[in-house]
């Protein structure tokens, strides 16, 4: 049995857990805790160690999806989670520009841990105050070559599209195409 993994990262409350839940065939193994900090109390609980989802491809291959904790004080987990990943998805909340800089820092940190392919998912694009994708590209200082994808993490088709784009990027980097 072969196992491969993709890491889903991003700032606090970017939608990482929801993203994994949308496609995982098992209930996401989530290590969530009630939030105590008033500043971060935009939701009731948050991931403190990792989220863990699974997609069984066939008898011989399983894809694991790991969601990183979004709060800065748990960033010691990032290095461990990044080991051996195929690639990673950086989730960004399109409605919270105050988190863009942190998203950029997380992206750079993960790139430093492992220079694997990645895509950026602009989540919550269905919200009326979501930033425009191209404005986000500028704010996040993303190279035009980096895939910045519109996303709604609770929508399975959207999540599939993001994962597929990441896999295409991995294939491209390997110098092979996929029809």
């Amino acid at each position: 049995m072969q196992t491969v993994k993709i890491v889903v990262t991003g700032p606090f409350n970017a939608g990482k857990t929801e993203f994994i839940q949308s496609v995982s065939e098992i209930d996401v193994v989530s290590t969530e805790r009630k939030i105590t900090s008033a500043a971060e109390k935009v939701k009731e609980s948050t991931t403190v160690a990792l989220d863990f989802g699974r997609i069984t491809v066939d008898d011989d291959l399983v894809l694991y999806l790991f969601g990183t904790p979004g709060q800065k004080r748990f960033d010691f987990m990032w290095e461990i989670l990044s080991e051996g990943m195929l690639g990673f998805v950086v989730m960004v909340d399109s409605t919270r520009p105050e988190t863009f800089r942190e998203a950029r820092t997380i992206l750079e940190t993960f790139r430093a841990y492992a220079p694997t392919p990645y895509v950026v998912a602009a989540n919550k694009q269905d919200c009326k105050d979501a930033w425009d994708i191209e404005d986000m590209r500028l704010a996040l200082r993303l190279d035009p070559k980096v895939k910045l994808l519109s996303c709604v993490a609770k929508d399975k088709e959207n999540v599939k599209k993001v994962l597929l784009e990441l896999l295409y990027s991995i294939l491209e980097e390997m110098g092979e195409g996929n029809s």
């Binding site: 072969q2 491969v4 993994k5 496609v23 997609i55 491809v57 066939d58 291959l61 894809l63 800065k72 960033d75 290095e79 990044s82 080991e83 051996g84 990943m85 195929l86 800089r101 942190e102 820092t105 750079e108 940190t109 790139r111 430093a112 841990y113 492992a114 220079p115 694997t116 200082r141 399975k156 599939k160 994962l163 597929l164 896999l167 295409y168 991995i170 294939l171 390997m174 092979e176 996929n178």
Partner: protein
């Protein structure tokens, strides 16, 4: 209780605030990573400041504030070898070379500048000695600490922000792949050029700081500016990614890897 401790637990700004509120008199000795500073207070106000081996006689202070030329400073030193700063000051005023205001302003600016430099010290220990006052012969000043405390708080916030942006100095830097950018055409500061010289995945940021004699805050400030400009990116030292320890694929055969990816793609399409 003795006022002594570590700058990691109690910052320079917090110390100034405490001395200001308690109207303390005495000398705060701060041992940084490479230098020792002595700051003297009188009833909660800054009275004098000096840093380690830095030349701080009155001639040097006046030269720094451009009240006299380097040549005049040399002549003053030669002629007033055994005189204290107070005596030299009186001599210059009586001879009509400078006014009392010129001298006091220069000493005030020097002391404030020393304290400002301390705001970048984040490592080291401190000890407050209430029995030690302004060194003999030095010209004491009387400067309110409030403005300095506000300035220090701003720098502290900057430091905290930079620590979030660059959490570890054990990372290395490499130039981003921007073929259209010619680094020679960029308008970099002297500090930025000094750091740029050492940008190489083999050098950690800490090593660059050591080579360029910058403290933690200064190197973080420069690296942050270079990151913001998109000129460099953070990498693992030696260019070895952590993920390299564990391979993404169990197989090293490229065809098998491509086949595995295609299976993943087909599966996700079918979910």
């Amino acid at each position: 209780m003795a006022l002594r401790g570590n700058l990691r637990d109690f910052s320079i700004t917090q110390l100034l605030n405490l001395i200001n509120l308690a109207h303390k008199s005495g000398t705060l000795v701060i041992e940084g990573t490479s230098e020792v500073a002595q700051i003297t207070f009188r009833e909660g106000k800054l009275a004098y400041a000096q840093i380690g081996s830095e030349e701080n006689d009155l001639a040097a202070i006046l030269q720094r504030s451009r009240k006299i030329t380097p040549n005049q400073a040399r002549v003053i030193r030669e002629r007033t070898r055994k005189m204290s700063d107070k005596e030299v000051g009186l001599l210059l005023i009586n001879a009509g070379y400078l006014t009392q205001k010129d001298i006091l302003e220069s000493v005030q600016n020097y002391c404030v500048d020393v304290v400002r430099r301390l705001f970048t010290w984040v490592e080291g220990s401190f000890n407050f000695n209430p029995d030690q006052l302004t060194p003999d012969g030095k010209i004491p000043v009387r400067i309110d600490l409030e403005n300095l405390i506000i300035e220090g708080s701003r720098q502290l916030r900057e430091w905290e922000q930079l620590q979030e942006e660059i959490p570890s100095l054990d990372m290395a830097l490499k130039f981003t792949e921007r073929p259209g950018t010619n680094i020679r055409n960029l308008n970099l500061s002297l500090e930025e050029w000094r750091v740029v010289r050492y940008v190489n995945p083999k050098n950690t940021i800490r090593q660059i700081a050591h080579a360029t004699k910058m403290n933690d805050l200064e190197i973080r400030r420069v690296v942050y500016a270079l990151l913001q400009a998109g000129l460099v990116e953070l990498v693992r030292p030696g260019g070895v990614p952590l993920g390299g320890m564990v391979r993404p694929f169990q197989t090293t055969n490229k065809q098998e890897q491509v086949s595995l990816l295609n299976r993943l793609i087909n599966k996700i399409r079918s979910i």
